[in-house]
Amino acid sequence: MKNALDRIVRSQVWRSIFRHGLPDSNRSRAETVFYNFFLHLHPTKVRKRSIKFTYTWGLGGMSFGLFIVLVVTGALLMLYYRPSVPQAYWDMKDLQFVVSSGTFLRNMHRWAAHAMVALVFLHMLRVFYTGSYKPPKEFNWVIGVVLFVVTILLSYTGYLLPWDQLSFWGISVGTNMIHAMPFGVGDKIAFLLLGGNIVGENALVRFYVLHCFVIPVVAIVLMAIHFWRVRKDGGV
């Protein structure tokens, strides 16, 4: 048994993945951070006071954690949900009453979405109160504001997908607000967003694509930049 384990650990495949032992000097610790893809986002050294929990309250990290929960539960929900007028509502009902753990996944997606909006907002407040938007972190504050808007848009585009009365009128009212933009710009944007003049089949598909593909991709790219900048500016 021990022999077999030894052979695995000494095999070329194993050693191609785990290339070093545990780092034992400051130099090798720094190198580990530099050369590991997942760790390279981190600064090689961190100030003790910036990792104090009551300084950050871990709000950004928790927001990211919820994003992961939303991606996983969302991908699973996509397997039973078809974004078309005859099916969307009944697929949602099927998820609630017919699919194993469907209610659990749907509720998890919903609660995580609500929590993410709340936590991103609280994270923004924390950054404001600790003055962490000041130079040299101004650029990251700007990205953060865009990420907050992206979070709201993710929440809003998901709102239409159950295709019930609440969704329908929520999106009707929301897209009607766009019409208030002057010089016909609002009318054009609302038309492109809905793919027509009414909240119908086109609107449902457009919101689905925005919710499941376009906005998440934007969010992931912005998050990568956001986290990288946090670390370059000496945070965790």
């Binding site: 009128w169 009707s172 009212v173 009607n176 607000m177 492109l192 793919g195 027509g196 119908g200 086109n202």
Partner: protein, 163 residues
């Protein structure tokens, strides 16, 4: 001006090869980018809409009693028949944010469930956040005695269909 000096100024004015290629290459990329944006913009704007037609038949005039207000849910239009028998058609889409307003006979108002706007029977705002009165649509009578409403033609309050 001597020969040497002339040659020098000529070189200064001449476009360098690098700059020329930058202009050509950059221009090509810019043209492709603008072209793509235009094509995608056109793609996003549907050419055929499978939405309810704006001109529709609302029913035979006998079906509407005098002094009545009837909501066509599908078309989101009120067919109003006055005491004297005349007709007019009025949008049921609230001018605030687009919810469907309902006729409340007990209060004698058209009320929107979303944000509490109220309109009178003539479509004028009496309460709430609605900024404009409900628009009136053209109503005509066809040979079979059917009311035909055209939502693409907005008419004033003075235009009514006398029968």
């Amino acid at each position: 001006m001597d020969d040497k000096e002339e040659k020098h100024s000529k070189e200064e004015n001449a476009m360098s090869r690098r700059y020329f290629l930058e202009i050509v290459g950059g221009g090509a990329v810019l043209t492709a980018a603008v072209g793509s944006a235009v094509v995608i913009g056109q793609y996003l704007s549907p050419n055929v809409l499978r939405e309810p037609a704006l001109r529709f038949k609302a029913g035979l005039i006998e079906n509407f009693s005098a002094d009545s207000i009837t909501l066509d849910k599908e078309q989101k239009v009120f067919i109003v028949r006055g005491k004297e028998g005349y007709f007019y058609a009025m949008s049921a889409v609230c001018t605030h944010l687009g919810c469907i307003a309902n006729w409340k006979p007990e209060d004698g108002v058209v009320a929107c469930p979303c944000h509490g706007s109220k309109f009178n029977k003539e479509g004028n705002v009496v309460d709430g956040p609605a900024p404009r009165s409900l628009p009136r649509f053209s109503v005509t009578l066809d040979e079979q005695g059917q009311l035909v409403v055209d939502k693409s033609v907005i008419v004033g309050e003075d235009v009514i269909l006398k029968v």
